[in-house]
């Protein structure tokens, strides 16, 4: 050890190890291995299967953990099911006390959990101590509050049931908190699987659940690898699956749960842009980058991994960045002065290495500082890749390591274009001292979280979650709770939707049309309605619609995949609809209502002729449709966002944004009312829609485009493609340029839609073949529709001069 007088000359930092003897003693006491936490007891796997868990910084074995199989998942789900009844029946105030106790107990053991997390995961103790664990505590506090308020703040909602939760290894205990706290607050019970690399803090948390006196079975923790996770997602006793992890596995889970009726939230990968404008505080932006990509060794789903920097300041920015990298300290995660610890596992380290190598091969310049990196253990130096083209693999693929790729832009438009040039849309960071530049950019980015002049800020009161292939659903805040709640009526609607058999035969019908007063009625041609124009179906085919009494009523176009393609393109072009003020959209919707009411008789006859001849019911349906249009017209400028209460001197804006292009398949019940009930909220929120009406009642929809035409609805906002709903739904589900898809049809169709939606991971809302009582104001309208028609973008704006 150097002497004081020598250090006086070198002025080095010395070692500053965090003590870990308490954790070592805790692990030693479990040297026979950890069991699963099921029904409030720790139990080994029935078949005795187990695996080892290592400290990535040293390679030392930390513990042996049980590998959960079918028997364990069955037992855990059963225990959660048993606990669900009494737990969900508790007053929110009582559940709040348990969550409060968890928050307090965690807080009293902050250092223990920090040290354990760092040993298991390899992240620096500074991060687990100052970021992970305090956020965990905050999450339980915050959700203790939601438990207290759940009945008053979420009337007409109920818990979903038993939640299967699968979490990643990068923020083990924090991701557990993000899953468990809202689930419990809303009255659900959980079966959670921690990542196989990092299960230890979850198991310590299980002990805490016992300490808090949480009723047995409310929280069940089953350890294991991907196979165990698959057993959870496939288990019929699970009502909801929440997953955080890779987009690849997210897709598998979407497929596996398709058609099961399980509620699903996915928080997946990202390639988040970090945009530095020429008027940014560059030194602060450099620190932002350190917090963006060299936080947790870059193993962060929302890591700012793509630096987009204005050409005018790129050289200075790179120089400052390189100078800063020379002062980063990589090494022992338990050392209090370590900036970057170990990569979680050799598999991950190999992936980082190979992607960096590929980047080099594709022509990028790779720069690493001359700082010391330990030779033993799984370490990778902070890395800057410049000369990267947007087309390069490393510019598109998530590396999930401490590697920053840098690209330049010339104008704000180009910055936005480059930023959005990604399959992902999780987060973004914008650096500019101009409020105009920053907020304009924030509004245009396709990302669930946008940090202005900051990065990687989290808070339990703010929603977190992605756009596009970064997943759907939010965690945190009011928006996050909806993932663990269901409308109170939802499961009561068990009756299957009426299925009306439709003959899509394209040959001439056997029936002759009705003759009025001895003169044949003029033949009417219903077309598709695309881009504000009446269009013949691409295939040139039509099918015949029949009245309930069997009489042929007329023909509708038999749309095909190309018609869907054209409709999606038209919708994609009608972007101005999303940009206008809610007031303008309200005016248009009121106008639609006005014009529909004026044509009440016509629609009454049409509906009655196609449904059951009951004119009174049809007339009431038209009236209800007019009221529904007015309801959403009224909402167009009122379903606004929130300013979350996160940190002091921060405005955290939760903005409800439209998806952009949505698709809607309408059910066979209430042909006009269902059509209006689905289309109106979607367009009120600024979406442009591609609608497939009920095939048996398509002429109601084609009549409706005449209403649209006379009501100032801009072309492309509503596109109607008639035809075989089931085959068109497949094309829609497969289409990667549709962001959300509401399908109301058959059970098989629902499953097919969910299965096929994995291409771009579009958000789906399906009815699983169940009927909806559209006339019922509880079921047929309301905020649930508006919530489903939007996604929440959280924009963090710190302020102060």
């Amino acid at each position: 050890m150097p002497q004081v007088k020598e250090i006086f000359r070198t002025m080095d930092y010395g070692p500053a190890p965090e003590a870990n003897q308490d954790v070592i003693a805790w692990l030693a006491a479990k040297k026979d291995g950890f069991g699963h936490f099921i029904g409030g007891e720790f139990v080994p796997s029935k078949d005795g299967a187990a695996f080892d868990v290592f400290n990535p910084a040293t390679g030392a074995k930390l513990a042996q953990v049980a590998q959960g199989g079918k028997a364990e998942i069955d037992a855990a789900v059963e225990s959660a099911r048993k606990a669900f009844g009494p737990w969900s029946a508790l007053p929110g105030d009582t559940r709040a006390r348990y969550l409060y106790a968890l928050a307090r107990l965690l807080q009293k053991r902050e250092r223990f959990f920090s040290v354990l997390e760092t040993m298991d995961n390899g992240k620096p103790i500074r991060e687990s101590r100052d970021i992970d664990i305090p956020l965990v505590v905050r999450h339980y506090y915050h959700h203790a509050g939601w438990a207290e308020l759940i009945e008053s703040e979420f009337p007409n909602h109920k818990p979903v049931g038993v939640c299967g939760q699968i979490i990643p290894w990068n923020f083990p205990l924090l991701m557990l908190a993000w899953k468990v706290a809202p689930a419990l607050a809303a009255g659900n019970t959980v079966v959670l699987k921690p990542a196989e690399f990092t299960p230890l803090t979850a198991l310590a948390f299980a002990e805490l659940c016992r300490e808090a006196g949480l009723p047995a079975g409310v929280v069940n923790i089953v350890t294991g690898d991907g196979r165990t996770g698959a057993l959870i997602t496939e288990h019929p006793g699970i009502d909801k699956v929440a997953f955080t992890g890779s987009t690849e596995v997210g897709r598998i889970i979407r497929k596996a749960t398709a058609g099961s009726g399980k509620k699903l939230s996915l928080e997946l990968g990202g390639k988040s842009p970090f945009i530095v404008f020429d008027d940014a505080d560059l030194d602060s932006a450099v620190e932002g980058i350190v917090d963006a990509i060299w936080f947790n060794q870059g193993q962060v789903c929302c890591a700012g991994s793509r630096l987009l920097v204005h050409e005018a300041v790129a050289e200075r920015m790179h120089a400052k960045l390189k100078a800063r990298l020379e002062t980063l300290r990589v090494g022992d995660p338990l050392d209090k002065a370590t900036d970057m610890g170990a990569i979680v596992d050799a598999v991950q380290l190999d992936r980082i290495r190979s992607l960096v190598e590929q980047g080099r091969t594709e022509g990028a310049a790779c720069w690493q500082p001359s700082i010391a990196v330990p030779e033993k253990g799984l370490f990778f130096p902070p890395t800057l890749m410049t000369n990267v083209a947007p087309a390069a693999t490393i510019a598109q693929e998530e590396i999930f390591g401490p590697v920053l790729v840098s690209m330049t832009f010339r104008t704000p438009d180009e910055a936005v274009q480059l930023a959005n040039n990604s399959r992902y849309g999780l987060a973004a960071s914008i650096w500019s001292e101009s409020i105009n530049v920053a907020l304009d950019c924030a509004a245009r980015l396709k990302a669930g979280v946008v940090w202005v002049n900051s990065t990687n800020l989290f808070d339990a009161a703010a929603g977190f979650g992605g756009y596009r292939e970064s997943g759907f659903g939010r965690e945190g805040g009011r928006e996050g709770l909806y993932e663990y709640l269901a409308p109170a009526w939802e499961k009561k609607a068990e009756e299957p939707a009426p299925a009306r058999k439709v003959d899509f035969s394209v040959t001439p019908a056997a029936e002759t049309p009705a003759v009025v007063s001895g003169v044949p009625r003029f033949d009417r041609t219903a077309k598709l309605y695309i881009g504000g124009k009446q269009t013949r179906p691409d295939g040139g085919y039509s099918y015949t619609l029949y009245a309930a009494n069997g009489a042929a009523v007329g023909q509708a176009g038999l749309g095909n995949r190309k018609d869907i393609r054209n409709a999606v393109e038209a919708a994609g072009k009608a972007t101005s609809w999303s940009g206008v003020a809610g007031h303008n959209r309200a005016q248009v919707l009121y106008y639609v209502a006005e014009n529909l009411e004026a044509r009440t008789d016509e629609f009454t006859h049409r509906i009655a002729s196609l449904v059951d001849g009951n004119e009174d019911a049809a007339r009431e349906e038209v009236a209800a449709s007019v009221r529904r249009l007015a309801f959403y017209a009224a909402h167009a400028d009122k379903y606004d966002g929130q300013v979350h209460s996160t940190r002091s001197r921060h405005v955290t804006l939760a903005m409800n944004e439209p998806w952009g292009t949505m698709a809607i398949c309408c059910p066979d019940e209430a042909p006009l009312l269902a059509f209006v009930s689905l289309v109106a909220p979607a367009i009120a929120m600024g979406n442009r829609v591609v609608v497939v009406p009920s095939p048996a009642h398509a002429l109601v929809a084609t009549d409706f485009y005449q209403v649209l035409d006379t009501s100032d609805v801009p072309g492309g906002v509503v596109n109607i493609v008639t035809g075989d709903r089931e085959s068109l739904a497949k094309t829609i589900a497969d289409h990667d340029d549709i962001s959300a898809f509401w399908y109301f049809g058959t059970a098989e169709g629902s499953k097919e839609v969910e299965q096929r939606s994995t291409g771009n991971l579009k958000a789906t809302w399906v009815n699983y073949g169940r009927a909806v009582r559209w006339a019922d104001a509880q079921q047929g309208q309301g905020r649930e529709f508006l919530r489903r028609a939007t996604q929440v973008k959280n924009i963090w704006v710190p302020y102060g001069e």
């Binding site: 006086f8 070692p15 505080d281 400052k320």
Partner: protein, 343 residues
């Protein structure tokens, strides 16, 4: 970036320098900041984001720490960086003489011995009012400890420029090695950079061989952009040091303000090729405060700024706490203030 700096420096040394650089108190040769013409383009577009600066400042000390031997060495280093200061209305010659004695002998002998030091431990300078300079010079004779004097109508500077310059010349004539001047805050608040530049340039001229430390009184400037701009103008006008506060403003040296000033020093180094020193002053009371400032310098500017020719801590009370912490390191027991000599 390192290459670029070297290049600029080579170019700048070719230019005529205002005067030959004196050897610094600790022997290392350092090119004295010759200043530049007023160049508003270096700071007009300065951007400083308060929240981001606050975040960096707040995490500096959570990212870095020194323990045991390292902490002891760093605390000893801090002692050598202190401008031991008395600037009170009740200062007397005796009081100043006592302070000077403490400056020569900042730490108890037994602790010095236990710490195994092989050099004479002394503070960076003694800082007094102009009328106390003769006493300080006399008391510090032979110690090698420079005498610093405040001047220019300290602490507000609201005195005719002619008198302020005269005050500098008086202090220098009496033997002050360093002059801590205060700027006219109005020039910053009115963004009259030319007036600020001219004032400091004249003060620098009046200093002659004595080094000039420009006190920006950041507590009065309020915004961090003002702090950055004033820092840049002071350096362009030839300040050898930029200093945060007089100790008399409502808000004294804070880490965010320090961060902005050292970033300005870094930018100036890149642009002009000169190293300028930094002195936080006011509010530095504990050993922990001192370590935070040292960490800031090391992280943002490097080890060169951990030497007294480029870094000073303006403080009067911190020595007591440092002494207690060093005794704790030596003995393992928590110490009492009474066990260490006051000034």
């Amino acid at each position: 970036m390192a290459e670029q700096v070297v290049k600029i420096r080579a170019a700048s040394t070719a230019e005529p320098v205002a005067e030959p650089a004196p050897a610094s108190a600790h022997g290392a040769e350092l090119a004295r900041n010759a200043g530049t013409p007023l160049k508003p383009e270096w700071f007009d577009n300065a951007r400083v984001n308060l929240s981001a600066v606050d975040r960096r400042a707040a995490t500096l000390m959570t990212r870095r720490t020194v323990k045991k031997e390292w902490q002891a060495a760093w605390l000893l280093k801090a002692i050598t960086l202190i401008d031991l200061t008395t600037l009170a209305g009740d200062d007397t010659e005796e009081r100043v003489a006592r302070l000077c004695a403490k400056a020569r002998h900042p730490l108890r002998d037994d602790l010095v011995e236990a710490l195994g030091l092989d050099f004479e431990l002394k503070v960076g300078a003694v800082c007094v009012y102009p009328t106390m300079v003769p006493t300080a010079v006399r008391s510090l004779k032979g110690s090698g400890i420079p005498v610093a004097s405040v001047a220019t109508g300290f602490p507000t500077g609201l005195m005719p420029l002619r008198l302020r310059l005269e005050e500098i010349r008086y202090a220098v004539e009496e033997g002050a090695d360093e002059i801590d001047i205060v700027i006219t805050r109005a020039h910053v608040l009115e963004q009259n950079w030319q007036a600020l530049y001219d004032e400091i340039a004249q003060m620098r001229e009046a200093c002659g061989k004595a080094h000039l430390k420009a006190i920006l009184a950041t507590g009065d400037l309020k915004t961090l952009r003002n702090v950055y701009k004033a820092s840049m103008v002071a350096m362009q006008a030839g300040a050898d040091f930029i200093k945060t506060s007089t100790g008399k403003e409502d808000v004294n040296a804070t880490l965010p303000v320090g961060l902005v000033m050292v970033r300005a020093i870094r930018d100036y180094r890149e642009l002009a090729g000169f190293d300028v020193g930094f002195k936080p002053a006011g509010g530095i009371r504990t050993a922990k405060d001192a370590l935070a400032w040292l960490t800031l310098m090391k992280e943002e500017l490097g080890n060169e700024w951990l030497q007294p020719d480029l870094f000073r801590l303006g403080a009067s009370g911190v020595l007591g706490d440092i002494s207690r912490q060093l005794e704790h390191f030596v003995t393992g027991r928590y110490s009492s203030a009474d066990r260490h000599a006051v000034a």
